[in-house]
């Protein structure tokens, strides 16, 4: 567990050392397919996963609340 936390910390801190991309150079990153979330139309499939699977969370989807017992 400690090893995992250390690896995560090292990985996270290494991200800060990346080159800063200027606003005018973010054209590709601003492409709608590059967003770091699911598309709105994927919301219902994400909700279905949270009903049918034990795992949920860490994906911007439902983590609790509501029933989903059907």
């Amino acid at each position: 567990m400690i090893k995992r936390i250390l690896l995560t910390a090292i990985f996270t801190s290494s991200l800060f050392s990346c080159v800063v991309v200027k606003e005018y150079d973010k054209v590709n990153l601003n492409d709608p397919d590059m967003v770091l979330t699911d598309k709105p139309c994927d919301r219902n499939i994400t909700t279905m996963h949270s009903y049918r699977e034990a795992a949920s969370g860490a994906n911007g989807g439902k983590t609790g609340g509501g029933c989903g017992c059907n």
């Binding site: 995560t8 397919d33 219902n44 499939i45 034990a54 860490a58 983590t63």
Partner: protein
């Protein structure tokens, strides 16, 4: 002449003073502030979902899991001023469920776990309303939001509220966020029909339900059933998020969600059959020995990461991985990849693949194998060990000029997606989803 020159001199002085004043105003440090949301946007989302399987939790791990669901949602985002957005999210979901219809499998006469019944539990409507208010700072580097949600169906009511704070820095290359939410839910417990006579005010085998019905197998049916005294369920969620631009073509994010639940975490109408108790039947239907019993607390932790790579003008790569574990003994891995491919400047296709695997909960038993001496047990195959493959395909249409119109709204994009989900247990599902984004003129 002299007076005219004097008048001209005064006018020139006044003009020069006005100009200086105007220049001073122009020199004031007024930065241009782009509105967070230029105009009202409306997302209409809809989906049709169908599933089938042979391990219904309602009938203790056997029986049909056939279910269909039709969902429609409107999400309206309104800019209140340059900095604030109010989002109203209203949805309704109507479903028919063969498994929950078997809460009373005798509606149509002969009870059978593999046949749907037509009673009141065969369908329901779920409705939801969520209000979200967000505020961005003048430099757009801080965003906070507050959320309130209400959802209801016949046997369940949920009230939720929460908030989030996001900070951008490093020239908006780095984003760190924290969010929290609380859901205060209440069950209206519905129990399997044959267990109700054994509740607090029931008459046992003398109840009208058993009149004219012959119990086969063990005729002295005596289930181990007690109604739940607490029908509340609270969920508390705290999450952290971190995203980072790694390159002009690559960005990624990490997320952590910690969820604590307490209260009635069992589903009151999910049957259990004990392996060490003699079986009783009416018709072909196995009478329940109890309902599932699960601990009244659960701690769930999920750690996820996304990495998106803009390969070229045509092709992108979207990846996701999540590790999950909880204190019921379940660990799970989720991995997905989507490859958006732009066919033209307006059309993009979205092939995707997702893999999911989980271990079983400590309290999971297959049909008729739980022990009556155990404190906790469930035959809900959603808590069993399994893996699942999902393939998907979607098409997206984007019109940046919003030429097509519906009333005062221009159509910005249309998305249609289809997913097939298949477990290595007898369960599969299909869903088709669609989303249309409108922008007000």
């Amino acid at each position: 002449m002299r007076s005219k020159l004097k008048l001209l001199y005064i006018i020139l002085i006044c003009c020069s003073l006005l100009k200086v004043n105007a220049q001073e105003k122009g020199n004031t440090n007024y930065e241009y502030k782009k509105r967070v949301l230029e105009t009202t946007e409306v997302d209409f989302l809809t989906s049709y979902y169908a599933q089938d399987g042979e391990n219904a939790a309602v009938s203790g791990g056997i029986g049909t899991e056939e279910l269909t669901d039709f969902t429609s949602t409107f999400v309206v985002s309104v800019p209140l001023n340059d900095d604030d957005i109010l989002t109203v999210d209203a949805g309704i979901s109507a479903y028919t469920s063969a498994s929950s219809s078997n809460i009373n499998p005798f509606d149509d006469g002969q009870g059978d776990a593999f046949q749907a019944s037509s009673g009141a539990s065969s369908g329901d409507v779920w409705s939801n309303l969520t209000l979200n208010y967000s505020h961005s700072s003048d430099d757009r580097n801080s965003i906070w939001s507050a959320k309130l949600s209400v959802s209801a169906e016949y046997d369940y009511f949920s009230l939720g509220f929460g908030g989030s704070y996001t900070k951008l820095f490093n020239e908006k290359n780095t984003e760190v966020g924290v969010h929290g939410s609380v859901y205060l839910d209440t069950w209206k417990a519905i129990y399997p029909i044959e267990l109700r006579p054994f509740g607090a005010n029931g008459n046992g085998l003398n109840d009208d339900f058993f009149d004219g019905r012959t119990i086969t197998g063990n005729p002295n049916y005596d289930p181990n059933f007690t109604e739940f005294s607490d029908e509340g369920r609270n969920t508390y969620n705290v999450g952290l998020s971190f995203s980072q631009i790694l390159h002009r073509n690559v960005q990624g994010s990490l997320a952590l969600d910690v969820v604590h639940q307490e209260g009635l975490l069992s589903t009151p109408f999910q049957r259990i059959y004990f392996g060490d108790v003699e079986d009783s039947f009416i018709d072909d239907f196995h009478l329940a020995d109890d309902i599932e019993q699960l601990p009244d607390t659960r701690l769930k932790i999920a750690i996820g990461g996304r990495l998106n790579y803009y390969i070229n003008q045509k092709l992108s790569l979207r990846t996701f991985y999540r590790y999950y574990f909880d204190d019921w003994g379940i660990t799970a891995h989720t991995a997905s990849v989507e490859v958006p491919f732009k066919i033209t400047d307006k059309f993009t296709i979205y092939p995707s693949y997702r893999f999911y695997t989980q271990t079983a909960a400590d309290y999971f038993y297959t049909y008729n194998s739980a022990l009556s001496s155990a404190a906790f047990y469930t035959s809900d195959f959603d808590l069993s060990e399994y893996s699942a493959n999902q393939i998907g395909f979607g098409v997206s249409y984007v019109d940046i000029f919003n030429k097509a119109h519906v009333w005062k709204f221009g159509i910005k994009s249309i998305d249609i997606k289809y997913y097939n989900y298949d477990r290595n247990t007898p369960f599969n599902s299909n869903i088709i989803t669609a989303g249309i984004k409108f922008v007000m003129d």
